[in-house]
């Protein structure tokens, strides 16, 4: 993740302070988080055997982590056999270099990108632009924030902080549409974006996407979306690069199918997203199966960027289970109050706090784990059963161990954010401790049980990952 002075988790406290006072932002967040939670709630209510499906999804993710090195080797072998070139990147700089190298090798003048948090994490766009290519975000929301030169504000809806009039003003200025009225309708704005981007897809030399999962058994990547821009990016350009963070592997097709049962429902309340693509290697060019479209060249970049070390920590590695449905963001009283930008990195909300703290230097993220009321709404919401509050405490412990004077930061945060605190405590008070028995639905207030659970005394044993981190800092590498 590339940090700037204005967009960094270092300023989390100041940024949340400002955000919490922004009445317009608050209204938008309120609308958006409710919208997502309501849609999700309806979908989960109709989801037969929900808990069993959640349980299978969790075990599929755990199984992947438990055999991660072996599965990555298997993925590499099978992807290579399918004709995909596999690259390994230890950090963001290496990943940028690999993708920029591919862009240079194929002489890319126009690059189209599908929504990908990981490419945001490694700050890929400037590196691609430095090769001389035009780079286009093609997801509508990402396209809009790219034009506005802002970071995305939500995993699922990158531009929820902008109104249609904002978008019209932006298109007027950036797409040269001088006549476009502020009152332009949303379908009209969407059509204008479609036209602008259709040209780019047809001209593109390279398509870059993330992956939702990669299947070790077959060497396939699985991409999930609603707009069709990812399908366009993997159908029209002659070269496709998929970038995956290394934990996104699934051992088998069965595991991938179990995850696909849950992911769209939890993310957007859909039974299935509009498009799921399972891609295995480049288009076939040998008789008898000659294909007329799809990339002629496919690459898979496996990115570490600090994740491998997290696997050694038995508590914190739970964060690697996440498949980015975004549900915990919407359920979080702090996120509902301050929104995504305040977190100062591509990952926001409960899971964002965990990932940023694990992947970025401690000195940049020390306030993040204290921006949490430990209410446990995230844990209750997460279909994969990630215990965010427990991990928050572990991170606080880590921050405090590194710098003993910081023990009071939590208090300071809550004092600065009385509303977030009241919201969380109010929600917790309103329910009885037996709430664990209620169906796990978003929007339900949070059980006291997890609230209490999470207040266990910290363990002070130095985790292996901390030792590793220290030795890495000393030894370089």
């Amino acid at each position: 993740m590339v940090l700037t002075d204005t967009f960094t988790p270092r300023n989390f406290r100041g940024q949340s302070h400002l955000a919490a006072r922004d009445a317009r932002l608050r209204a938008i967040l309120d609308h958006a988080t409710r919208y997502f939670m309501t849609k999700r709630g309806v979908a989960l209510e109709a989801f037969a055997d929900r808990e069993d499906h959640f349980g299978r999804a969790r075990v599929a993710r755990l199984a992947a982590l438990s055999r991660l090195p072996e599965l990555l080797e298997r993925l590499e072998r099978n992807a290579t056999a399918a004709g995909t070139r596999v690259h390994w990147a230890r950090d963001a700089a290496q990943a940028r270099e690999i993708v920029a190298g591919i862009a240079r090798d194929c002489g890319a003048k126009v690059v189209v990108k599908g929504k990908s948090m990981v490419s945001e994490e490694i700050a890929l766009n400037p590196a691609l632009e430095a090769t001389g290519a035009e780079v286009w975000e093609t997801d509508l929301g990402e396209f809009i924030v790219q034009l506005a030169q802002e970071p995305p504000s939500h995993i699922i809806a990158p531009c929820i902080h902008m109104s249609r009039a904002d978008v019209a003003a932006l298109f007027r200025e950036k797409l040269g549409l001088a006549d476009l009225a502020d009152a332009a309708s949303i379908p009209e704005l969407t059509l204008l974006a479609r036209r602008a981007l259709r040209e780019k897809f047809l001209a593109a030399d390279l398509g870059v996407t993330g992956v939702n999962m990669a299947v070790a058994e077959t060497g396939s990547v699985v991409l999930v979306e609603n707009e069709g821009n990812i399908r366009m990016s993997t159908t029209c350009p002659p070269v496709h690069v998929a970038i995956m963070s290394l934990e996104k592997v699934a051992a088998t097709l069965e595991d991938a199918a179990d995850l696909l049962r849950v992911l769209p429902r939890s993310a957007t309340g859909q039974r299935m997203s509009s498009y799921v693509s399972v891609l295995t290697g480049p288009r076939r060019t040998e008789e008898p199966n000659v294909e007329l479209d799809g990339p002629r060249e496919t690459h898979l970049v496996i990115l570490d960027n600090g994740r491998a070390e997290v696997l050694a920590d038995p508590v914190l590695r739970e964060a690697l289970l996440c498949f980015r449905c975004g549900a915990c963001l919407n359920s979080c009283p702090v996120y509902q109050t301050v929104g995504g930008h305040a977190y100062g990195s591509v990952y926001s909300g409960p899971i964002g706090t965990l990932l940023s703290s694990l992947l970025l230097p401690t000195e940049d993220t020390r306030d993040l784990p204290f921006g949490c009321t430990l209410c446990g709404a995230c844990k209750k919401t997460c279909p994969l059963g990630i215990d965010h509050p427990k991990l928050m405490l572990r991170l606080r412990e880590r921050v405090c161990a590194g710098s003993p004077g910081l023990a009071g930061v939590a208090h300071a945060f809550l004092a600065l954010h009385p509303l977030a605190y009241r919201l969380a405590v109010g929600a917790a008070r309103a329910v009885d401790p037996g709430l664990n028995l209620l169906p796990r639905l978003p929007g339900l207030p949070v059980g006291l049980a997890s609230f209490v659970d999470s207040r266990q005394p910290p363990r002070l044993k130095t985790p292996f990952s901390a030792q590793l981190r220290r030795s890495r800092k000393k030894g370089g590498a």
């Binding site: 055997d49 969407t190 479609r194 479209d293």
Partner: protein, 218 residues
């Protein structure tokens, strides 16, 4: 170099803190495929703004496809070369011009075509997903670039849910065991709610999806 470092770090981590995986709950049984399969598929597709039209004979299927082309005001179409047997779709769409020369760049050739006609290798009743396997004579772009996508679903393609996916991928593997280069699940039209969370159909892919069920033994 990086590869080895990454793998070594992962191995060291797992050795230091082994991860024991609990047994998963049994996969809940898929819904049985009864006589109401078509009705259930129609019910799941309706909220996605997708209409399922059932045809009892090839002639009826042709009529449905012609009706859809008229309703969608299509003047040109493309179709997969590969089609379920017994259907003459070119006859059904005789009034439209067919774009079939895709050699010089499939996406460019299809960029201005009104309607794309494909068929589903499977249709998942639980989610309303149409499974399209790309291959020779079955380009990916036919179901993606035209603003209207018409998909034929043979009765034999009906399947309960996404747990059918592994079997489909293995079933379409080539002689060397390699799965197809691209398998898509298509569930409703292309959609977005990125601006003010207002749902719009048809952003990059087709804004209209029509399904014709082929209700006879193929």
């Amino acid at each position: 170099m990086s590869r080895q470092q990454i793998l070594d770090t992962l191995r060291a981590g797992l050795a230091a803190a082994p991860l024991v995986v609990p047994a998963p709950p049994a996969r809940p049984a898929s819904l049985p495929m009864g006589a109401d399969a078509w009705a259930r598929l129609a019910e799941v597709l309706a909220p996605l703004d997708v209409r399922l039209r059932l045809a009892a004979t090839p002639a009826e299927a042709a009529q449905h496809v012609a009706d859809i082309a008229r309703e969608r005001a299509a003047t040109s179409y493309t179709r997969w070369d590969d089609m379920p047997p017994g259907l003459d779709m070119d006859d059904a769409l005789a009034g439209l011009s067919r774009v079939s020369d895709l050699g010089g760049g499939c996406c460019h050739a299809l960029a201005h075509v009104d309607l794309g006609l494909t068929f589903a290798h499977a249709a998942l009743i639980d989610s309303g997903s149409l499974v399209l396997v790309a291959g020779r004579g079955r380009p990916r772009a036919a179901s993606l670039l035209p603003p209207t996508h018409v998909c034929l679903v043979p009765r034999s393609a009906l399947a309960p849910d996404v747990s059918a996916l592994p079997g489909l991928l293995r079933g379409h593997a080539d002689t060397a065991g390699l799965p197809p280069s691209c398998l898509n699940l298509v569930t409703g039209p292309s959609s977005t709610a990125d601006i003010e969370l207002v749902l719009v159909r048809g952003v990059h892919g087709p804004g209209a999806l029509d399904v014709v069920g082929l209700d006879w033994d193929i």
